[in-house]
Amino acid sequence: MRFKTEGIVLRAFNYGEADLIVTYLTADRGIIKGFAKSPRKIKSRFGSSLEPFTHARVSFWGKEHSNLPKIVQSDIIQPFSHVREDINDFLRLSHIIELLLSLYPEGISNKKIFYLFLQCLSYLEQAAAQIFCAEVDKNALYLLFKIRLIAILGYAPMLKQCGRCGQRGLFYPSEGAVLCVRCAPIGARPMQTSKAAVSFYEHGLTWPLSNLMRVKPSADIVGELIALLDEHLRHVLGKELKTAGFNIR
C-alpha cells in the first residue's frame, strides 16, 4: 500500500552502508518511522530532504500496519536550513525532539502538536534568517513551546494552588504539583516559584506562540520556568534527557 503524508524529520539513524531510518512527526499519523534506501550516497534522489527539521511531503510504501514502511519519495516543503546551521537552535530543537520522542507515543495523530512544532520551527527559521526586525526571544519561544506541548499531552503541572486543597504553597517536582504546608509530603524538596513566573505559565498553557511577538517575559521568568519544567519532566520521565546536559560552551 502506498500512502502520502506531510511530515517534519525529527531524526535519522544510519542503517547499513548508505541507508537511513527516518523518524517523522506527521499531522495525520503522529510519529512514524520510515526506511530510505541509499540517501547517504552523493547522487541520491532524496537530496537533503531527509535532514532533521525538514518539512516535506513524503510517500511511503509498505503493508498497511508496517512498522517500517519504505520511503519512496520526499519533496521539500520548507527546508528550515538556517535553523540547522545555528548551534544553539540545533541544541534547543534537539532537546524538544527528545522530549517529543519521550512523551508522545508513536502512531497517534495529534494535529495540534504537529502545527505547534511547525510554527516553532518557522519562528526560529525567520529569526535565524533575520526576517523579523524585532527578533523573537528564542529562550521564551522554547519555553512557551514546552509549556504548550506538556499541556496538550496532559503532563502540565498545576502551579497556581495546592493540587489537593486549593491553598497557596510551593512546587514539589516529585509530586508534579504545588502543595501547601499541610499536604506536602515529609522530606520532599520544593522549588520556589515567583508570582510573575506562575502568571506567565498559566497564560502560556493556552497562548499561541505568536503572542511572543508582543509579550516579552524577562530572562529571570524564562530561566525560572525552564528550570522548574526541566525538574518536573525529569520526574515525569524518570530519567535525565540526553540533551539536557549538553552545553556547547
Binding site: 531524526r11 547499513g16 552502508e17 552523493i42 547522487k43 534522489r45 537530496g47 537533503s48 530532504s49 535532514e51 532533521p52 527539521f53 521539500i76 527546508p79 536550513s81 540547522r84 546551521e85 548551534i87 540545533f90 541544541l91 534537539s94 532537546h95 525532539i97 527528545e98 540526553k242 540533551t243 549538553f246 556547547i248
Partner: protein, 198 residues
C-alpha cells in the same frame, strides 16, 4: 558435517555490512574454490588487522604503531590539517592529491545520541593546533555535509578561529555528472552561495 562448515561460514559472512544470505553464499563457494594459500592469506589479513590495528596517537587514524604512516611522513605539508569524522573518510581525500595531515574526530556531535564534544577527539585537535612545534596554519574541516557534520564544523570553527588560524570548510554543491534539474533547493542554494568567478 560439511554442510555445517559451509553454513557456519555463510552465517559469519552475513555479519558483514551489505552482505545478505545470497552474497554470503556466493562468497563462501568462491572461497571454497580458491587455492588454499589464497584463502589462508585472507584469513591471516583479517587476524593481523584485528591484532595490530590501533588508533594513531596524533591524528586517530588507523595505525599499526603509535603513529600512522601519514603522521610519520616528513614530506607532507604539516601546516595543513584536514579534519574528518571517520578513518574511512581519509581514503577519499587522499585520492584527491591532498598532501597535508589529518585529524580524525571519531564521530560527529549528536545531542540526541548523547555524543558531546568530550566524546570526540576535539580537545586533542585543539591541543595539536595550539602546539607551536606543529606550525599549523590552516585547518580544513571536512566533516560530512549533513546536519551533524555541519554543527560539528561550526563548533570547531568557533573554537579555532580566535586562535588566529585559517579555518576553512569544504565546499557544498552539486555532484559532478548530475543534472541541475534533479538538485533540491538546499543543495542548489549552497551551490549558488559558493559560486566563483570564471
Amino acid at each position: 558435517m560439511s554442510q555445517g562448515i559451509v553454513e557456519n561460514l555463510i552465517n559469519e559472512l552475513m555479519r558483514l555490512p551489505g552482505i545478505g544470505r545470497k552474497t554470503a553464499q556466493r562468497l563462501c563457494f568462491f572461497i571454497l574454490s580458491m587455492p588454499e594459500e589464497d584463502a589462508r592469506d585472507i584469513a591471516k589479513a583479517i587476524i593481523e588487522l584485528k591484532e595490530k590495528a590501533r588508533f594513531c596517537q596524533v591524528c586517530f587514524n588507523i595505525a599499526e604503531d603509535d603513529e600512522c604512516e601519514i603522521c610519520r611522513d616528513k614530506k607532507r605539508d604539516s601546516k595543513k590539517i584536514c579534519v574528518v569524522e571517520e578513518p574511512s573518510n581519509l581514503a577519499v581525500i587522499e585520492r584527491t592529491g591532498y598532501r597535508g595531515l589529518y585529524h580524525v574526530l571519531l564521530g560527529a556531535l549528536s545531542p540526541l545520541d548523547g555524543i558531546t564534544p568530550e566524546r570526540l577527539k576535539i580537545g586533542e585537535l585543539i591541543e595539536r593546533v595550539k602546539d607551536n612545534n606543529n606550525n599549523v596554519e590552516e585547518v580544513i574541516i571536512a566533516t560530512n555535509p549533513n546536519t551533524k557534520g555541519e554543527v560539528t564544523a561550526r563548533y570547531i570553527g568557533g573554537i579555532l578561529k580566535p586562535l588566529g588560524l585559517r579555518v576553512t570548510r569544504i565546499a557544498y554543491g552539486l555532484p559532478i555528472g548530475g543534472d541541475i534539474e534533479f538538485a533540491d533547493e538546499v543543495t542548489m542554494a549552497k551551490a549558488m552561495e559558493g559560486r566563483r568567478e570564471l
